[in-house]
Symmetry: C2
Subunit: 505 residues, 2 copies
Amino acid sequence: MTARRLALARSGSLIAASPRARFLATAASTSIFPSSDQPTHPALVKPGGPIPGPLSIEASKEIGGFQEDRAHAFVADYARSKGNFIVDADGNVMLDMFAQIASIALGYNHPDLVSLAHSPEFVMAATNRPAIGSFPPAQWASWINDGGIGDEWVKPRGLNQVFTAMCGSCANENAYKAVFMAYRARERGEGVAFTDEEMTSCMKNQEPGSPDLSILSFEKGFHGRLFGSLSTTRSKAVHKVDIPSFDWPAVPWPNIKYPLAEHARENAEAEAATLARVEETIVAWRQKAPVAGLVVEPIASEGGDQHASPSFFRALRELTHKLGVFMIVDEVQTGVGATGRLWAHEAWDLERPADIVTFSKKMQAAGFYHNIETRPSVPYRNYNTWMGDPIRALQARQILRTVRASNLLENVRDVGSHVYSNLESLFAGSAMSNLRGENQGTFIAWDLPSTKGRDDFLVKMRRDHGVHLGGCGDSTVRLRPMLVFEKKHADIFLQAVSEVLKNMK
Amino acid sequence: MTARRLALARSGSLIAASPRARFLATAASTSIFPSSDQPTHPALVKPGGPIPGPLSIEASKEIGGFQEDRAHAFVADYARSKGNFIVDADGNVMLDMFAQIASIALGYNHPDLVSLAHSPEFVMAATNRPAIGSFPPAQWASWINDGGIGDEWVKPRGLNQVFTAMCGSCANENAYKAVFMAYRARERGEGVAFTDEEMTSCMKNQEPGSPDLSILSFEKGFHGRLFGSLSTTRSKAVHKVDIPSFDWPAVPWPNIKYPLAEHARENAEAEAATLARVEETIVAWRQKAPVAGLVVEPIASEGGDQHASPSFFRALRELTHKLGVFMIVDEVQTGVGATGRLWAHEAWDLERPADIVTFSKKMQAAGFYHNIETRPSVPYRNYNTWMGDPIRALQARQILRTVRASNLLENVRDVGSHVYSNLESLFAGSAMSNLRGENQGTFIAWDLPSTKGRDDFLVKMRRDHGVHLGGCGDSTVRLRPMLVFEKKHADIFLQAVSEVLKNMK
């Protein structure tokens, strides 16, 4: 963009705060985002005008010359974005409650991450990318353990190993590989070597070396888009059509009614039916492609924020254990604080830990936690050139340190219940239904009557009020603010919702 | 590591240059690595002593507490590594001709990359990782096109689209997905929508929505380790055993004899036989799982540096086109200059460009080049949260600019022929055989009589001479120096080879 245009783009007009606004914070308060220049409100160049605006569209078009641009919502100016506010190429300042598909923890240009990026250690790590599995940096253990992804405060309870990878899909796929190897190792018996037949047949992609084993997942689950992970993803047909897939099983998500507390008995029945179905499926597939692992999200996010009760997950853990199936908890979207817990599955209070917990997104680093049982028998079996990215491990460490130092989990819990209870009141008698996410921090969602209704709602929130939200499932709005989202930001959001609702009536 | 130990580690002793050394550069020359503190020679703490040394072993052990450490060669001190020289945790200074499994282009701590890492643009990009497919940075087109991976000088001839991803495996898998979608789009006919049956069946991983299509690869090929890419990888059983695989076909690599020029006629026959086999396989699999794409490396690297003639690849291109199969050239290891060309497949002089060229490693950024035919019909089909990494795109741009400004391709060609011709003389009458890589820059390899012989050779080069090399295949030594590897470095390497050879006799 030219300098003239950037200057032009800077003249955004503040959305006027109505004196009668119910939810607008009235006093400037200290912020947990430690920078004075975080905007206080959305500011649109022309409220009600189109987003993307002309400069966004022009920049998208240029990108469209060499790369898919039809999924662009708008083109962003990250240098000007700050904290909870994203600025687009036209200069619109929006409250960002989608946060790069739930992948920003601390807000834009957080001073701690900016400082980190200037540190000699970060510059060195960025400039010299090692093959970590063979030539790790001398600081690797410290980057992981001293407040980082391997810190005692961070590791899911009961898991003491961490495999580092590049993204959420890779995290899940490498976890599946670990599970298949461990499953076969258990069948084979301790210390038993591969047979010649296994070694020969695997080179032809044939049994017994390439065994017909499977991963069981849930309908509406999303676990990534590479060939193994996509075979377990069941959220939307557009992700899957035309792509060859492993013939792996899935069972329907329990037919849950919201709010959970009001439908405890029916939900328990639905969950029991699902558990029975899981058991049947695992038993039946022993004759076909034995289920080595079961993968599940604590909240099926991409598939429309589908919840279930802690007792369901506890029973699932016991069932998988009883049937000799490894349990993989996919915390790519739910992990790192958004539910008010570092890991969403902490809410289940498992007696027996899951076998594997995968992560990515807000962690910036990706990978999975596990135990020694799922470390392969010999080296180079679960291996690749990079084995993760040291600078993302350094960022993860800083993010986790800041989460802890600034009590961001507590903030998420407080703000989450503020949002939830206010939405509950606002939605009474409205077209909004199935509000969910009580006691799940800011991981809150609800449904509209149709896909079109949901999409219209998202457009109005953004275009008229400068609040940027995301959808999921068929007709769901999902809240995915950052961990530095405060009550004052929640009030901006709630005010905007109330105004959009008013105009919907 | 403690400060005391680091200080201890700094006292490496220079390997004495013998006055009779045949290959040692005698005069200090200006370097294409623009920094005065690149070491001039390897320096081992105790020549002949073990590598990994005690501090490396200690650091490995610490990592081993939470992560696989059995594939560690040594733990490295990247802050002290410079140019072509890697320094390990014990202070051993080694000439690095493996370069993080062929993934470092410009040497350690190259001033251009250090400057880049300090730039406000890099800091901003590192701190704010966007979901590029939906909220791209305003600078994205410029980062790609202005000297970057989408620059006219960079894009493989005939391809004008670039898909950005996270690593080599992802690059290949996303390329396979693009191929499957384009193949089905061609079958379906232009503008024809998905059927309800396709949309429903794909959610169950069943035909017709999840079609039984395949990717054809070559035995000894390596294309990554995720579930789709691993199904096309055929280099080593240890990569594949116990992992479920798609039943996809492979054909043997042509039975090539080296040097290529001396066996032109026999090789042409072997290549013709392979081409016939490729055609037979594609035709036969139409009844089983039609071949939508063929993937091939210009030099099958992990599988032992298997070469073939340009005419073979030209014929392969014409054959795949004739049979309606998309041709995917995997340049993850061969790309970005190591063969003396930016892309190894330039040597083929194709009349009709390949459909897809994948990249990663030395580019630091990963992805694939293609044309609009392989852009999916609707958005979100080949999509994920991050869609690549902006800071790796910025590094790729700097690497490519430096390659061009410093004439590194010419350097690689010059040094490569120097190395090749000297090895030819050195190996006459020795146990070294099948020297290959003439006119392939520094992408040179040869065989030893056994795996053990090869491994012993690698140990001697490292432990006695401070030259760090890699192996591939069963008994192959592969040279993978950086693009800043100069004749003076080649002479250190050649001198070391000649001494190891002497002691082998």
